[in-house]
Symmetry: C2
Subunit: 199 residues, 2 copies
Amino acid sequence: MAGERGAYARGLARRDEIMAGAIELFGRIGYRNATILDIATHVGISRTGLLHHFPSKEILLKAILAKRDREDLQRLARSDDALGGLRDIVELARHNAGVPDLVSLFAVLSAEASDPTHPAHDFFVRRYERARVSMADALRRAGDAGLLAPHVDIDHEARALVALMDGLQVQWLLAPDQVDMAEDLRIALQNVLVVPLPS
Amino acid sequence: MAGERGAYARGLARRDEIMAGAIELFGRIGYRNATILDIATHVGISRTGLLHHFPSKEILLKAILAKRDREDLQRLARSDDALGGLRDIVELARHNAGVPDLVSLFAVLSAEASDPTHPAHDFFVRRYERARVSMADALRRAGDAGLLAPHVDIDHEARALVALMDGLQVQWLLAPDQVDMAEDLRIALQNVLVVPLPS
């Protein structure tokens, strides 16, 4: 049993290694350009070894996307109160500044995926629908708690804040010393609140 | 002379055709994936014919980027007054909604180009620096005319408005029926003004 559990843990660790290598390579040369062999070579395993964990490049991509979404959702579900929920969004931007490969991959893919034949098209359509809905929910909770400035149009602000996070990522990737994503997001959130946002 | 002028005009028209075809193909399958032969086939000319106008894929790409920048600058230089300058930004977003291929290409490229070895890296670094500076200038003119709300931090707002335009493009490409880029940009600008923004 101990041996089986060890093999299982090693398998999971290997999956994580492959995903990390693929994120780096997809972000650098693009999802469509990177072959399974490129990724395997980059990670330092055989093509067959990689295919044992991920039977196709598309399955590997979808595993990466799903894993990041899961982790982001956990990060956004930490606080019970309305103000804490908004602060968690700033924290997510701060976390993103530590994972440039992943940010770059998502920026490239979300744009590529506007093509309806792209393997991640449906994923990104749904992801943005969900992002707008959760952002609107977070703002509505702040509004119900009397924390929102009276001029705020919640649906507009939800689209705008999601867009701001994405757009800041592109500027930050190109000029990491000139753009502080978390700080710009904090100011944007502060601008729609009537109370100070705790940092 | 008339014959020479005719040949020149035909050459320019052919250049425009090639650029339009390349924009479509780059936006759909990515700059790195599309070969010169792919583009030539897509446009319906020979590989040699294409190379006569653009000696390399990189030169073709740079011509496309420079042309769009030139056209955008013309669109943003239409008004002399501060309020008109901000309205021109909304008009640019409205114009973008009519050229999805170009918007998609720029979204993919700006993200891919965060890799310092990408042929468009320097172009996009400079482009965003310039975009932030012109947006800040437009806001400063509005401030000097007494039109800006007192809470506005001009440098933050410049980064945020540029980011908003980019982020809205991604959401719009994925859900064109749910996102009105020009309208969301108009609301965002209105939120920093103390007078109505003319539509």
